[in-house]
């Protein structure tokens, strides 16, 4: 099954390579990996999705912790969480197709970010399957170019960074809150 990890790492040169290299040499296949800044300048945050069974998933976590620069690993697969992917899709949209494409975009709550004589560029944010859905209905019109960011994820309610701030994975510091799906 697909496991989603949120991984906090020290914001230092080469850390991405260490993480990527770990997955390669242990023969775990990364489905998606994104990395970016966090609310703390010295900390970067990764969202990694990997196809793994339960035992493998636990070993991935243990192996990530063996990397000296890894601060916190959370497998949020089973946790209520918000998962988002962003895509930009350039669709061939000639005069007659244009209105259909615009209609489809609005059904998916996607935004048109560029209009050219022969094409439309649509930006969509959402769970991966929502983007896959839009892509499927756009294909007949001719998808000329596409880029996706890979997913970013965040647990609902309780903040991971509270545990991080408390230092050394002291999870008691983070109070369990309740939150509603939005």
């Amino acid at each position: 099954m697909l496991n989603t990890y949120v991984v906090y790492v020290e914001n230092k040169p080469g850390v991405l390579t260490r993480v990527a290299s770990l997955f390669r040499r242990r023969a775990f296949n990364i489905d998606s990996l994104t990395v970016g800044r966090t609310e703390k300048p010295e900390v970067s945050r990764m969202t990694i999705t990997v196809d793994a069974d339960r035992d493998q998933a636990r070993r991935i976590e243990a192996n990530l912790y063996k990397l000296v620069n890894v601060l916190l690993v959370e497998n949020i697969t089973q946790e209520p969480s918000i998962v988002r992917d962003l895509a930009m899709i350039k669709v061939a949209a000639t005069h007659e197709a244009r209105s259909h494409v615009l209609e489809l975009a609005s059904v998916f709550r996607a935004r048109v970010v560029d209009v050219a004589p022969e094409s439309l560029t649509i930006e969509i944010t959402g769970a991966e399957d929502k983007i896959d859905g839009l892509l499927e209905v756009l294909r007949p019109y001719g998808v000329m170019e596409m880029v996706r960011t890979g997913i970013v994820a965040m647990r609902r309610g309780k903040a991971s960074t509270t545990a991080l701030a408390a230092g050394n994975g002291n999870e008691d510091a983070a109070e369990e809150d309740v939150s509603q799906s939005v």
Binding site: V9, E10, P13, G14, T17, R18, S21, R25, D55, R58, R59, A62, N63, Y65, K66, L67, V68, N69, V70, L71, L72, G167, N168, G169
Partner: protein, 577 residues
């Protein structure tokens, strides 16, 4: 008290040695070159003794041997580019055997990085998968903290190699040096884990209910320094102990509960005992494929308790029932007071019966055919050196397995061998490291004729450093273990395994090492005695039976109890014809 060095402006090179010295290091093993020259220049102000090696691979094995003999961090030094890449094999060896070494490499100037400058290699990139952690240092003011972190990471938790690559300008430029202020900052590094209370209770439950338990004793016992605790545990619970190759010495060979080595070339009864056990207590071992054989048929009726410091080892190869993640010594301290004394004489009698006719098949008890066998050499060496503080350092191959079978080790750190990586060429340099770490110990190299030739350049290091190291070459004119596999699995097609060797005794003499050649069993003991009495290094070229075989053998992929055994009568071999 205020540190007297605080605030003083010092070069990165001087800070490097100052920090290494403060970490308790007295000896380093290295080879100079362009990018590390500033550090070598600064060495004159340091109390550290530098051992000049002949090849950087040797430096890493020496640091490794130093670490394994003493438990202290070993240090190897090399220049950039080829100097650094020559270290890779030694680093990987230390990685797989959890040996704490710190490798210092010079790097081209920070402005030149990425320009394919002369002798530039991205060594942190190259060694990333084979180090516990590594660093690239580009400023003098990063040297102190990095070295402190490197030593801390190398020796804490599950030990391992750490490489520190320092650019030439970081060595040359100066900055303020303040040891106290350069404390390690490793917010994500957590080497000290301990099990939960209920895991202890589950473990005790399994131990007290087991009828046929076995302890699997690994290298972790020695690293953790838990020899006494394991002994107390085994004696109190009445549980027999099987050893991994690197666990040899963790439990005394002569102890009545000691079974011997397990695995591919383990004693037959040890493997049978494991297969019949109802509980395995894995102490600081990692269920390597060389000890389990086929995992599907491994110890099918046994529950498993795994005491291990590295959580990533849990359920990696063998699914365990109770993992106790933590330092072995501390975990055993917690367990010991709750362990009940149980009479297990029935199980121990049963194991005795498993021994069957194994002793008869032992080559020591076969009629003397007039040939010199490696087993004779090892056994006689053991009888002669058993009373002293002896460290045997082996290479990799048949002689390594015979050493493990026929040399009875009573103490930890008395056998040093490359287990996980199986690095040929390890023995000679590792023995140098061991001798430097423990000058009072009697150090013997047991090495094959193949592996010896991979790093024999270090004979010069032995002589230059005036080290009393004795070398026993088990010379069978073959890459013996590979030949054995060809004999069993490739229809005796001895492709690329026969060796045309030089006269090793003459070679030794050329280096100024007293050397002799032994061809008969009756000469073994006198040669060993002569070597021990000689005040200087000695090389003995033991020309042994060419096509001898290590028995028993669990073929790769076979079940642990399916062993190829020594035939009762010695088979005629090519040498007899």
């Amino acid at each position: 008290m205020k540190d007297k060095t605080a605030g003083k402006s010092t070069t990165g090179a001087s800070i490097l040695w100052e920090c290494i010295e403060r970490e308790g290091v007295k000896h380093v093993f290295g080879y100079p070159g362009g990018a590390i020259l500033p550090a070598y220049d600064a060495l004159k102000h340091s109390k550290i003794h530098h051992v000049l090696v002949r090849h950087e691979q040797g430096a890493t094995h020496m640091a490794d041997g130093y670490a394994r003999a003493s438990g202290q961090v070993g240090v190897a030094v090399a220049t950039s580019g080829p100097g650094a890449t020559n270290m890779v094999t030694g680093i990987a060896t230390a990685m797989l055997d959890s040996s704490p070494i710190v490798c210092i490499t010079g790097q081209v100037g920070s402005k030149l990085i990425g320009s394919d400058a002369f002798q530039e290699t991205d060594i942190t990139g190259v060694t990333l998968p084979v180090t516990k952690h590594n660093y690239l240092v580009t400023h003098a003011n990063e040297v102190a903290r990095t070295i402190r972190e490197a030593f801390y990471v190398a020796r804490s938790g599950r030990p391992g190699p750490v490489l520190v690559d320092i650019t030439k300008d970081a060595q040359q430029t100066s900055c303020e040096f303040d040891w106290e202020a350069a404390k390690p900052q490793l917010p994500g590094y957590r080497p000290d884990l301990s099990p939960a209370r209920e895991e202890y209770e589950q473990a005790l439950d399994l131990i007290h209910n087991a009828k046929r338990p076995v302890i699997l004793a690994g290298h972790g016992i020695i690293i953790s320094g838990a020899m006494q605790e394991v002994r107390d545990f085994a004696e109190r619970a009445g549980i027999p102990v099987a050893l991994t190759l690197l666990g040899i010495g963790a439990f005394p060979a002569a102890h009545p509960l000691n079974l011997g080595m397990m695995g591919m070339h383990g004693e037959a009864w040890v493997n049978h005992t494991i297969q019949e056990a109802d509980l395995l207590l894995a102490f600081g071992m990692r269920f390597d494929d060389r000890v389990t054989g086929n995992l599907k048929t491994y110890a099918p009726n046994a529950k498993k308790i795994h005491i291990e410091i590295d959580p990533a080892e849990i359920n990696k190869n063998v699914k365990v029932d109770v993992p106790l993640v933590g330092d072995l010594r501390e975990v055993l301290h917690e367990l010991l007071p709750h362990v009940e004394s149980i009479d297990r004489s029935e199980w121990l009698d049963c194991i005795d019966k498993l021994k069957g006719d194994s002793a008869v098949r032992d080559i020591q008890n076969l009629p003397d055919s007039g040939h010199l066998y490696a087993a004779h050499v090892i056994n006689d060496l053991w009888r002669e050196t058993r009373d002293g503080e002896t460290v045997v350092v082996t290479d990799v191959g048949q002689h390594q397995m015979w050493e493990a079978q026929y040399y009875k080790h009573e103490k930890a750190r008395s056998l040093i061998t490359s287990g996980g990586l199986g690095t040929m060429g390890f023995a000679l340099p590792a023995a140098i490291g061991a001798k430097v770490a423990r000058p009072e110990a009697e150090v013997w190299v047991v090495v094959g004729d193949g592996g010896f030739q991979m790093t024999l350049c270090e004979l010069a290091t032995i002589v230059q450093e005036k080290l009393k190291v004795n070398i026993a070459i088990i010379n069978n004119g073959f890459l013996g273990m590979v030949r054995q596999w060809q004999e069993f699995f490739y229809e005796r097609n001895y492709a690329a395994t026969p060796l045309l060797n030089p006269d090793f005794a003459k070679l030794g003499e050329a280096y100024g090492i007293r050397s002799m050649t032994v061809t008969e069993r009756s000469q073994v003991v006198p040669s060993v005695r002569a070597a021990r009495q000689h005040d200087g290094p000695v090389l003995i070229n033991f020309r042994v039976e060419q096509e001898d075989t290590v028995y028993p053998m669990v073929a790769a992929g076979a079940a642990l109890h399916e062993m190829i055994r020594r035939p009762s009568k010695i088979v005629e071999t090519a040498a007899d014809e």
